[in-house]
């Protein structure tokens, strides 16, 4: 208890950083669920592929050591981020085209989609494990850790600020896209009522592909941030992180974009406070106990409503 109180602000900043990454990944689960009522279990691999793309880009471009200028670092990070988003986006579309669309054409029962999702997840992860490496792979961290401000006696690092800020920018962008643009309205229309959406001239398949792509882009951004925070990736890096992000999505209310944000942050904070209380080996247990407890009292998650019904 004393540890928790003494380190409260440090734990908070770590929790928020972690939570921001969870939230970005959670968006992918929530978007697809909102439109298809389907848990895309392969989304964890969408994230994983993004982290590999970030690694490859940084390995290729940032190999020479030494202190690069701030502008160069930012440029490299943006490039790696774009690469990760492309990798994740393509993977998400690939999963939709190969694993789900053919099943939709045949009106397959819901359970079949679930199995297809798990299959796609394992196949992609193992393909990377077999053809690339099963080892933990280091990723160059471009940002030299530096304390940028001290808040209530706790130190906030530059990377934490970058992660939280970048996540917020991406989430606000997505939120505005869904709320304000014509295509975003199309996504919400399909989420609320597929038949009526078709009567408006909305091409359902195109909207579904778009939601997978958007989820992929968010996961790609998260992947870059993750590699910069931890300096590594692995073929199965998506597994636990995917489950956590999925937990965050359910926690906030699956299908609800702002719920994903809230769920991610709550989960990140709870993990850090919880492991300070009962020991860090209990971190993952804390996450899932929290999920169970919240769902006991609020079965639809904290914010509840779906992408369709939410005004978000």
């Amino acid at each position: 208890m004393k540890f928790l109180i003494d380190n409260f602000w440090t734990l908070t900043s770590t929790g928020l950083t972690q939570g921001a990454i969870y939230a970005l990944i959670a968006l992918g689960y929530t978007l697809v669920y909102g439109v298809l009522q389907l848990i895309n279990f392969a989304h964890s691999e969408v994230f994983m592929v993004g982290s590999f793309f970030a690694m490859w880009t940084l390995n290729a471009l940032a190999s020479h050591e030494g202190h690069a200028g701030a502008l160069l670092i930012i440029g490299l990070l943006v490039l790696a981020g774009i690469a990760a988003m492309i990798g994740s986006g393509i993977t998400a579309l690939f999963v939709e085209f190969i694993a789900y669309r053919p099943l939709r054409r045949r009106n397959a029962p819901r359970l079949v989609f679930l199995i297809s999702a798990i299959g796609a997840s394992i196949a992609i992860s193992e393909a990377f494990g077999i053809f690339i490496s099963r080892n933990i792979l280091p990723v160059p961290q471009l940002v030299q850790p530096k304390v940028v401000l001290t808040l209530f006696g706790s130190q906030i690092y530059n990377m934490q600020v970058i992660i939280v800020a970048a996540s917020i920018v991406m989430m606000v962008g997505l939120d505005q896209f869904i709320r304000r643009t014509r295509l975003g309205r199309g996504v919400r229309a399909v989420a609320q009522d597929q038949d009526t959406a078709a009567l408006m001239g909305v091409n359902k398949d195109r909207v579904i592909a778009l939601t997978f792509l958007l989820g992929g882009l968010m996961a790609g951004g998260a992947a870059l941030l993750y590699t910069q925070q931890f300096g590594l990736t692995r073929f199965n890096v998506g597994f636990l992180l995917g489950i956590k992000a999925f937990t965050a999505a359910v926690l906030g209310g699956i299908g609800n974009l702002r719920g994903a944000l809230l769920g991610g942050l709550v989960l990140g904070l709870a993990e850090n406070y919880g492991s300070a209380l009962v020991g860090s080996q209990w971190r993952d247990v804390v996450a899932f106990v929290l999920l169970i407890v919240i769902l006991m009292f609020r079965p639809t998650g904290i914010l509840g409503e779906s992408l369709g019904k939410a005004r978000a």
Binding site: R182, R185, G186, R188, A189, Q192, D193, D195, T196, A197, A198, L199, M200, G201, V202, N203, K204, E305, G308, K309, A310, R311
Partner: protein, 237 residues
């Protein structure tokens, strides 16, 4: 002929809902399709708008065969349906719902404003409520919204599925005069109704559907006077 349906058969799984329906709608007409519950009126509408596939038969629209065309592409050809019941997007505002009506044709700012004014002219209530979340509106208001939204698509053919359902008697006659007005603006209308009295009196022609088959057809006012129709559909003994 704007719309021509020939020998249309539609199934739900093994249940056959339409057993060979043939009807046509000429440019500029109001055509009513009436019939008891479960006769297949909604099914006919859904087949025309493309939500339900035709197992047999042909649908021609504006000179082209659209039997196999996807629903969202039929909207682009000029068919717009106001669905039965509360077929609105409940989580969107009234304005967003109306904007969904223009999804396929992407009007410019001015065009959109013009179309909105036209809809608000027909349904002043929608203008007052334009920022309200549609799911919280009354049944009658939602009904107006589905019609207004369908008009935003600037259709050649407007399909109305029970526009008077759940409306107060005052509003019912108002809705039918609005349908006349829309038709007067050059929109061809195919309207499905339980309310035979009202729909027959505004319709140029009408069809009566019974368990998936057209049993009677004729001019609206002739059917109104037909003793058999009176007995079956107008509640007159």
């Amino acid at each position: 002929m704007l719309l021509e349906i020939t020998d249309l058969q539609v199934f739900y799984g093994r249940i056959q809902a339409l057993h060979g329906v043939s009807l046509y709608v000429a440019q500029g007409e109001i055509v009513a399709l009436i019939g008891a519950n479960g006769a297949g009126k909604t099914t006919t509408m859904r087949a025309v708008s493309g939500l339900r596939p035709a197992a047999h038969g042909r649908i021609r629209f504006d000179g082209e065969d659209i039997t196999k065309l996807r629903a969202d592409l039929r909207v682009r050809r000029g068919i717009s349906q106001a669905p039965e019941g509360r077929g609105i997007f409940p989580g969107m505002t009234v304005l967003e719902n109306l904007d969904m009506g223009t999804y396929a044709r992407r009007p410019g700012r001015e065009q959109r404003q013009q179309d909105l004014e036209r809809v608000f002219g027909l349904f002043p209530r929608l203008k007052e409520r334009r920022m309200q979340v549609a799911g919280t509106m009354s049944g009658g208001e939602q009904q107006m919204l589905t019609i207004g939204r369908a008009l935003m698509a600037r259709p050649k053919l407007l399909l109305l599925d029970e526009p008077s359902m759940g409306l107060a008697p005052m509003l019912i006659s108002q809705i039918f005069s609005i349908i006349k007005e829309i038709n007067g603006q050059g929109v061809t209308v195919l309207v499905v109704e339980q309310n035979a009295q009202q729909s027959l009196s505004i319709a140029d022609r009408a069809y009566i559907l019974e368990t998936g088959l057209i049993v009677t057809q004729g001019k609206g006012r002739d059917l109104l006077a037909d003793p058999a129709v009176k007995a079956a559909y107008l509640g007159v003994a």
